[in-house]
Amino acid sequence: MSSEVTVDRLQFTLTITYHYLFPILTMGLALFIVYFKTVSYAGREGHRFRPLRKTDSERATAEGAARFWTKIFAVNFAFGVVTGIPMEFQFGTNWAQFSNYAGGVIGQTLAMEGVFAFFLESVFLGILLVGADRVSPRLHWLAAIAVFVGSWLSGWFIIATNAWMQHPVGYSTDGEGNVKLDSFGDLLTNPWLPWQYMHNMGGAAITGAFVVGAVGAFYLLMDRHHHFARMCLRVGVIAGFVLCVLQIFPSGDRQAKNVFDHQPATFAAMEGLFETSEGAPLVIIGNPDTRDRELESTLEMPKFLSFLTSRNWTERVTGLNDIPEDQWPDSVPLVYYAYHIMVGLGTILLAIAGIGVLLLWRRRLYTSKPMLWTLMLAFPFTYIANIAGWTTAETGRQPWLVYGLLRTEDGASPAESVPAGTTIFTILGFSGLYLFMSLLFIVLILRIVNQGPDDGEAEPEPAGAQPEPAGAA
């Protein structure tokens, strides 16, 4: 692989990974802002629908929570927007031959993202942010829902694009060797799309749940904002638990099945499987050694991999030995470890949320110091799990840019147009800019968290002296 392609990949890895840190929370938090806004707007004491049967004081807390999280959302959204613009641009700047090759197909979904998602999202975020004082409560509530729909639609179009790169459908090759769209319906009903979308959005929602819970835990440990903190913790652990379960089954399970059916090399690399076998073991701890072509395993469950993929203990699973080496992902250990980090963290996060729900039920969640500390510190690992999942998907698809059709080295911009040195220069620029932005982001978010929700509690209060939240909105 030429040095141009290597640095083009490096720049895309840097910019997409950094960018995606923000949409994870944008999409995750949008869901919870809608929840808080709905409780505040539609909740009342005698509501027929049980989850909306709320007292005035609960509704006031929910409104405070919605406003607090909207402040965080606004900063996070701004960073997501400005780091997102380079993504679309880079298809042209650094991956010109890919754009030329696939633009006739994925141009559809990318253009639709702009037309259907971005306009909706940006216009209604403007309305959400001018505040409830300038617009009616109903419009403010609808704006929150529109922002949620916009951000989740945006995710849908991006996953539709990625799903096509993972599993191309509805296309044919034109006279110049580029792809053209044959069936718009097939593009949007790609069998890869629903499970990848659900798994991806589930990951974002889990981050949202753990972030909401972490701030709640932080305030309880700081002995501040008790009503707000309890509401956030309760919502965070319950949603976190449900979402973690759904993440494993059905979405994770079905997504793995898609990879097993359509990308055998990727699947073998994820599991570190070299020997083709009927009744393949599931390796819990092990290291794939690509030189000796063996998986040094220390802990494995016999026949489990075959069972998980197809509910059949003797299903044949193809190993890397039976796949030509030029079709292996270029770094098998990277795929293997990224996948195992994602799965391992997912399992741990499920356990944490599960214990949280258990303690909530036993009425000990708000007072258990070890649990509050755990919940406060767990949220960064949700980000790592999300990024590890994408690393699995994207490095697992290698050496293909469009699976089975276009190899990554054939997708970059021609070296005469964009030499390696040029891209190295812009990588340095992006790195410096993003480092500075990270510091800024942390300062601004910590400041909002330190100020706390606007619940009439100005300063950290001594224990036992909690003021009542401000009157109903």
């Binding site: 641009f89 754009s99 030329n100 197909v105 909706l120 209604f124 403007g126 942010l129 147009s417 601004l444």
Partner: protein, 343 residues
């Protein structure tokens, strides 16, 4: 079908320049028209709720270019690499400065944000002009549809001239917007600057005819070959006159509309002059990318027309609604405020 998308793309780019143009122009003049904190607050909160929506027109235009003319997207973006990356970095700085300005209540922070916002707006206005200048002049495309222009070749004399014109046009547009939307001293300063910039705009508008003829003869021939297209330069000229009149009569809502029509006039003139080229090569180079050799397959273009029409209807709805909400001027100016969204 390819030609339909050429027109739709021209429409989207025009809407982008008209809408984001006023907040870019306001930004370029920000440090001059707004001197005190309250005044700067007035400018930034006037565009605060809408600039992001306006900027989306750029992203959506980019997406549509990608979908309809993938070859142009690939060739232009890789060939103008540094220009594009510069745009990205300026957009990042500008977006953050605008969105984060209100986050800290510290005079130094706000001044820093104001300076970044203003300089990046100014830079973007110039770079967009430079980009248009390079497209009109043509680029050294090879037979595969690629080219490479080092940074200092992007900044050639003709493109720089168009860059300055771009800055002046957007600054006038921004000044007219602020004269319409702002109050007190900001309005007065913006009105004065708008009137002065009008003369510069006039000189550059007619002054550019010669240089454009020098770099691209067939652009003018193209216009005269299809006489009906002369309606576009005439629209620009008429709008320029109207702008002069309304500025003097202090009818700033109508002046803003005239400025928007002027932008519409020059961009449509350019599009009509370039057609059927989407990304022309230099004069004499046969590798230009046209609607015929750069477009995606017709099936995709037909399908896209269906969803595009539907999406644009929705979008027009949001924008009309949001602009009515944010630009509901104090009593008596409602009628003029609602003129904003008609373009």
């Amino acid at each position: 079908m390819e030609s339909v998308w050429f027109v739709l793309l021209a429409v989207m780019v025009t809407v982008y320049v008209v809408l984001d143009g006023f907040d870019l122009g306001s930004g370029a003049l920000h440090l001059i028209v707004a001197r005190k904190e309250e005044e700067r607050e007035e400018v930034t909160s006037a565009i605060g709720p809408v600039w992001n929506g306006n900027e989306v027109w750029l992203l959506a235009s980019g997406g549509v270019l990608f979908m309809a003319f993938p070859k142009v997207y690939a060739g232009a973006f890789s060939g103008l690499y540094f220009g594009l990356i510069l745009v990205l970095w300026l957009l990042i700085g500008r977006g953050l400065a605008l969105e984060l300005r209100h986050q800290l209540d510290n005079p130094l922070w706000r001044s820093a944000c104001d300076v970044i916002f203003s300089l990046s707006s100014l830079g973007l206005a110039v770079v967009f002009g430079v980009a248009i200048g390079n497209v009109v002049r043509g680029v050294p495309l090879n037979a595969e549809g690629y080219f490479s222009l080092p940074l200092f070749n992007i900044l050639n004399w003709y493109a720089l001239l168009v860059g300055i014109f771009g800055l002046v046009v957007l600054a006038t547009h921004g000044a007219t917007f602020l004269a319409f939307k702002a109050r007190g001293k900001v309005r007065e300063r913006a009105a004065v600057i708008g009137r002065r910039l009008w003369w510069v705009q006039l000189v550059l508008f007619f002054g550019l005819i010669g240089p454009t003829y020098a770099v691209r003869e067939d652009m003018l021939e193209n216009l005269f070959d299809h006489p009906w297209t002369l309606v576009f330069p005439l629209l620009a000229t008429g709008a320029l006159v109207a702008l002069f009149v309304y500025q003097r009569r202090r009818l700033f809502g109508r002046a803003f509309l005239a400025s928007a029509l002027f932008i519409l006039g020059i961009l449509t003139t350019m599009a009509a002059g370039l057609y059927p080229n989407v990304l022309p090569a230099r004069e004499g180079n046969p590798n230009g990318l046209t609607v015929d050799n750069a477009a995606a397959d017709s099936y995709g273009l037909e399908v896209a027309l269906v969803w595009w029409s539907f999406g644009m209807l929705l979008t027009a709805g949001y924008f009309i609604y949001a602009y009515r909400l944010f630009f509901r001027a104090p009593a008596g100016e409602d009628a003029r405020a609602s003129g904003l969204e008609s373009h």
